[in-house]
Amino acid sequence: MNIFAKKTCKSSNGLHSQIDDSYDYKPASDFIELKQDQRICIADGTSESVYSGKWAEIITKDFVDNYSDFVNDYDEWHTKAANKWEAEFVTDDLPWYLEMKLNQGSFSTFHGLFIQYNESKELICKSYYIGDSCLFLVRQEKLIRRIPDIKSNAFTNSPKLLATKKQYLRSPEKVEFHLENEDCILLMTDSLSQWFIDEYDNFNENKRWQELIDAGVEFDLRVFLGNELKREKNGMPAIRDDDLAIVRLHIQI
């Protein structure tokens, strides 16, 4: 089975608008061989910085392609990624505001996973994250882990971010845990994460969150967003209108 991965831009943007959320993964199959590893990464470029979608794209790809650099020399891994971002733009003859904005750099949340069997043949997941793109581990229809550990009302406009500029560089938080057969891992950017946590914590009897566990290739994330914006919870739309991204992995051991 291939990894399930979807993304869409916010509803108020046109269908083919830029999406500042990004993801990457390797390999595409969710069956993890004994001597292989699985790498997944999701990122959410901030709406207020420029070319943040490009920054999100670079860091997800570079985590998946260069995991050993990421782990062994994070500073150097970051330098290479930031240089790739800066190389994307021509900076001659820019108006003062675009020049200053580019000098500020770009910002994104980040959540990467490395999954591999250890020497004892236990399947281990290593989670590295900065900000509020979240990991959820569902086992036998129960949410047994959320990383970061956050409630639905705790999402803010100011999460921690991975910056292109060295002076703002943060190191990721790291969490490690075991996986079992038929576990379901979901990585989501903030708006979808907030929706998922709210549905699980506060409206669990409806089991709407299960829709993301069971969704197949035909699942249309944009239609889902449109429907949830029309649905009300406590007088507000059930989801915040924002770019959405999700990567889902069903573990088969």
Partner: protein, 304 residues
């Protein structure tokens, strides 16, 4: 819930700054190297007995507003250009009698323009200063970086303080604006002054101004009084009793109560503010002026 509208290109918001440009604004703030004059000098009706190094109140205010505009342009800048999330007005007030001047302080291509979109502000500074500043290189060192600082307004100080006329001018501009932007976050008017008005009492005019509204709430009027002579500042008072000066009490009465998100912004900056605090800072120094403007315009975080 009022004051919760999201700010976007379809529903921009609006800031108007009213700048006291009376003669007293040429006083030096934080004076140093003070030297007494052999004879007092009268300038613009004011008697001076000393000269000093330091920046004048008018140059400090111009610098603060220029930096605010620069930062707001940057907040609105995306790869496709500057997004029109805000309309901005900056109205100076000065002079006496026939020399009374209440008008937009924009110069150059924006001369005589009242409310200007943020993208037009971005494209039309009156000049750009180039400076070299030291920035961190991320490896513990510093490197020189050339930066450009756009300038839209220049310091100016002359004559009296026709504050009520300035409030009336703001009312005239916003009456039309709110009629055309009913779904928007309400406009915020920030009045920066160093002393009492020299025209009629502002109470009725201020009340008319803050009676204007969008569907999201009434126009907000905040006041900041700046001083060159020190004195204990009074910050976001909840009661007139926190102020001893009659002029300060009058400013309190015409200031709007802070909406919840601005109360939160004030608390984040370390100020004591409550749900009944007014948008008023009395006897502010430079730091408090800058923070007041940051806090008073913190609704720009409603950008979507």
């Amino acid at each position: 819930m009022p004051y919760s509208a999201l700010i976007n290109r379809a529903n921009p918001s609006c800031f108007i700054f009213l700048l006291d440009q009376s003669g007293s604004m040429q006083d030096v703030i934080d004076p140093s190297n003070v030297i007494p004059l052999t004879q007092p000098q009268v300038v613009d009706g004011r008697t001076y007995t000393h000269v000093a190094d330091g920046r004048t109140k008018s140059s400090v205010v111009a610098d603060v507003i220029n930096r605010f505009l620069m930062n707001l342009v940057l907040r609105c800048t995306r790869e496709d250009g500057v997004r029109d999330y805000f309309d901005i007005g900056v109205i100076g007030y000065s002079g006496n009698g026939s020399s009374t001047k209440v008008a937009s302080v924009f110069t150059g291509n924006l001369s005589d323009r009242d409310l200007v979109s943020i993208s037009e502000i971005a494209k039309n500074p009156s000049r750009i200063e180039e400076k070299v500043k030291k920035v961190e290189d991320g490896a513990g060192g510093l490197v020189n970086q050339k930066t450009r600082f756009p300038i839209w307004l220049e310091p100016y100080a002359y004559g009296g303080t026709p504050m009520t006329k300035a409030l009336k001018e703001a009312h005239n501009k916003l009456e039309i604006w709110v009629a055309n932007h009913q779904a928007s976050f309400p406009p915020i008017v920030i009045n920066i002054t160093d002393g009492e008005w020299s025209d009629e009492d502002p109470d009725n005019t201020a009340s008319e101004l803050t009676s204007l509204h969008t569907e999201d709430g009434n126009v907000l009027l905040f006041n900041v009084h700046i001083t060159a002579t020190g004195g204990e500042p009074v910050l976001y008072p909840s009661s007139e009793n926190e102020l001893t000066d009659q002029f300060a009490k009058r400013l309190f009465n015409i200031s709007s109560t802070l909406p919840a998100q601005i109360v939160s912004a004030a608390k984040l900056q370390g100020y004591k503010a409550t749900e009944v605090s007014k948008g008023l800072v009395y006897q502010a120094d430079l730091v408090e002026l800058i923070q007041f403007i940051d806090i008073g315009t913190s609704t720009s975080s409603n950008l979507r």
